[in-house]
């Protein structure tokens, strides 16, 4: 076909990008993970990672927090998406759910510094109901709370899309055949919206492993996620080899999650 040459022409800038900014960086991070601080080839980073309990604990901790954040987000988002999909003007309501994601993440984190600090609104409320002021900022609770707050819209979007794809007549059929509400939910609604849930878990879990700005601003460095460790090694201690090793671990974790939540077709966002 004559479009062969045209095809090649389209592909030059794109494949250049593919090679320079996708393949090369991944290869470089893999390569760097085998270098020590003096740029000599070594396996030491990996042995340090797997032998010292600190790194393994940190990884498990990070996975645990990401899991907690994902679960809480899912628990709040699934009913929200379900109820939203039954509203009039639902596209407009969905837009209102999405709007907060357009506010810069750092500003939202900053708002919580104001809300959670010693004299902040949350503590004023706690004093008012008689509990008395608590240390809220720089705790694990505040980290999970803020991370969940930030992730909720990203979970609602794909589940909402899956709800939209769900044909109402299946639900009617299930009711007509005598299923209870719970049975309908368990056998019809949940399995048919599962792709949306998987997509949501994917979009929430992976970033939750790397929210280093939140651990710094809100978590007060008490929670160390994989992302915090990478940032620390790259920008503060300048040990790029170790940082890359943690990066490789993060990539592996990401791939595992992708495989586990595979065949997630409905993606979030405005595509609908």
């Amino acid at each position: 076909m004559k479009s062969k040459t045209a095809n090649l022409f389209y592909f030059i800038p794109y494949s250049l990008w593919l090679f320079l900014f996708v393949v090369a960086p991944v290869a470089l991070i893999l390569y760097n993970s085998f270098l020590d601080i003096n740029h000599h080839f070594t396996l030491a980073n990996y042995t340090t990672f797997f032998k010292s309990g600190t790194y393994l604990m940190m990884t498990l901790n990070s996975l645990w927090y990401a899991l907690l954040i994902t679960l809480v987000t899912l628990l709040i988002s699934y009913p929200t998406a379900y109820l939203l999909s039954h509203l009039k003007h639902k596209q407009l309501w969905l837009l209102l759910i999405i709007l907060p994601t357009w506010i810069n993440l750092l500003l939202k984190a900053y708002a919580f510094i104001g809300i959670f600090n010693q004299t902040g609104v949350a503590n004023q409320f706690l004093s008012f109901i008689g509990v008395g002021p608590q240390q809220l900022l720089f705790t694990n609770f505040s980290f999970i709370f803020v991370a969940t707050y930030i992730q909720i819209p990203f979970m609602i979007m794909p589940i909402f899309n899956a709800m939209e794809d769900l044909n109402q007549s299946y639900i009617n059929a299930s009711h007509d055949l005598g299923a209870t509400n719970w049975q309908t939910f368990r056998r019809v609604i949940w399995p048919m919206t599962l792709p949306g849930v998987k997509a949501g878990v994917q979009t929430v879990f992976i970033p939750s492993l790397s929210l280093f700005m939140l651990t710094r601003l809100i978590g007060g460095n008490k929670v160390i996620t994989l992302g915090t460790a990478i940032e620390e090694h790259f920008l503060i201690t300048m040990n790029w080899g170790m940082g890359s090793t943690i990066g490789v671990v993060l990539i592996v974790a990401m791939v595992i999650i992708m495989v586990l939540t595979g065949d997630a077709k409905s993606r979030g966002g405005f595509q609908k």
Partner: protein, 272 residues
């Protein structure tokens, strides 16, 4: 029945309050005298005027906008060409391989993208600053443009293009008279998404920006680490109005596309 309905509305109301309270809280205190976010102390616009006099911040805002516009423009061009190329590949395996490479940057955690780009730019001995930030933003915006344009190309199908080719249209005529007019909505959505990606990004920029150059997110981060300054609240007020405008713009763009689609289908029905 009516009781359950009310309960579900209450649930949605709570979710919306949780989503919006921190943002409104932030903006409310931008009008407060004093310098903390704990007690509202009378209305003032002084933080807004301080914002206007802060020339460092204004320069950073302009830099952020410049980066966003330039990077989305380049990403849109390269991404659209890439989508055209991908659309023309005849073998499914090739196409799927390219697409999975395309999606790597979308699913990767920001920290990994930032760290690997940092290694990459250092290996190339590029000085960190405006150019590296711009290149990174172009790089992580390209895949989303591809994902926005590709469905439009699939929708277009092959019959129109082959018909045009049979009737003797040149490649350029096919592109400019058939393909581009049809996929323009996808290209615009892609540009828009690239714009928001760029404006929102913190982690990648944080890694690849040097000392001399800063974007808004990075600046907010460093100011938030120093504690509360109501000038940031004023800034968030301005940004909230700005994102509101962007969202409304995007909503109308979507509505316009849908009404055009509707018109087209009714026209086709008329012809039939």
């Amino acid at each position: 029945m009516t009781k359950r309905f009310k309960f579900s509305n209450l649930y949605l109301l709570v979710v919306f309050i949780i989503l919006y309270a921190p943002i409104l809280f932030l903006i409310a205190f931008s009008f407060s005298e004093g310098d903390s976010m704990s007690h509202f102390q009378g209305f003032t616009l002084s933080h807004y005027s301080a914002l206007l006099r802060d020339s460092r911040l204004i320069i950073i805002v302009l830099q952020t906008l410049l980066i966003a516009l330039l990077s989305s423009l380049f990403a849109t061009i390269i991404g659209t060409l890439g989508a055209l190329g991908i659309n023309q590949t005849s073998r499914t395996i090739t196409r799927n391989t390219i697409l999975s490479f395309n999606n790597i940057l979308i699913v990767s955690p920001d920290v990994i993208i930032g760290a690997s780009f940092l290694i990459f730019f250092t290996a190339l001995q590029l000085p960190l600053g405006f150019s590296t930030v711009l290149l990174s933003h172009i790089a992580f915006s390209i895949p989303i443009v591809v994902l926005m344009v590709l469905p439009k190309l699939r929708e277009l199908g092959t019959s129109m293009v082959s018909a045009a080719a049979d009737l003797g249209a040149t490649n350029w005529q096919i592109l400019s008279k058939i393909v581009f007019p049809f996929i323009t909505p996808g290209i615009l959505s892609g540009f828009f998404m690239a714009l928001t990606y760029s404006l929102d990004d913190f982690a990648v920029t944080f890694f690849v920006t040097g000392n001399g150059f800063s974007t808004l997110s990075v600046e907010i981060y460093s100011r938030a680490r120093q504690g509360i300054s109501l000038e940031i609240n004023a800034l968030s007020g301005v940004l909230f109005v700005f994102s509101l405008l962007l969202v409304v713009g995007y909503y109308f763009l979507n509505q316009y596309q849908q009404s055009r689609k509707l018109k087209r289908t009714t026209r086709e029905e008329d012809i039939l």
